[in-house]
Amino acid sequence: MTGHDVIFVLIGLLTASAAILTVTSKNLVHAALFLAVTLAGIAGVFLTLAADFLALVQLLVYVGAVAVLFLFGLMLTRAPIGREALDNQNRGLAIAVSGGLFVLLSTLIIGAVSSGALGETSVAEVTGPRIEDIGIATFAEWVLPFEVLSMLLLAALIGAIVLARPESGESGEEAEVTRIEMGDAPASEGPQPLPDGSAPELTSGKRSEGSS
């Protein structure tokens, strides 16, 4: 066991424990912060696997953008805190399914590696492709998937903006109706007149009844 392996084991233990805390934490914000630790640990795993470029991409995209996006998502939605409110009744089933899958997959992996089905497995020194090779491969062999991915990102951007806008046609009117039913919905900017003109009276009546 070389020093390389020791570093990998340490980073792996950190990553695995942070991942377990992510799915078991009772606090929503703590779960998102443990997710950031897990993603940074995965970037460390990429570094020990000699994938420097991918480690930096992981730090930029996941720790920099996705973790912050999740924090915004948790803080913009109001949810009760606590294990009973965060987990449903399927915990036993979930432990059985994921534990069974882990035992099955790790048995298969250990069998495949020890039986030599993967060929020469133990590499003395880990080497990764240089960044020039990655760039040349991107624009030589993978250029069509690359452009399709850029179109996908554009479509996802526009779709997210259209979905998240408050006054988005049909769903905006539906939101008004459902707020009256729930009673404890976030405060709106006042009753808005509907096309038939009958709804605003209903809205104000329900609201005063709920507050009194």
Partner: protein, 103 residues
Amino acid sequence: MSPLGPLLLATLLFCIGLYGVIARRNAVLVLISVELMLNAVNINLVAFQNLLFPDDVAVSGMMFAIFIIGVAAAEVGVGLAIVFNMFRNRASIDVDDVDLMRW
């Protein structure tokens, strides 16, 4: 360095993410667990690329990992927009409450 360690770590992370997807009720936490599963697959791809096929000219494993990162970013954006819409319409992001289209 043997590929055993990275593969086992990826399996463990995937199963933890699977547990989160099944057991959590909050829709944002379900999305977080899906991210864990996608990252586990990325570790697998990079381990196979750099430990078993280091001479591949097309660097397939690394390119797949980069594409997965891009698709996951798009998924998080659209998923959080859907969660916000759900919260606005139903004042709850409990995935057990969303049974409008259940048969």
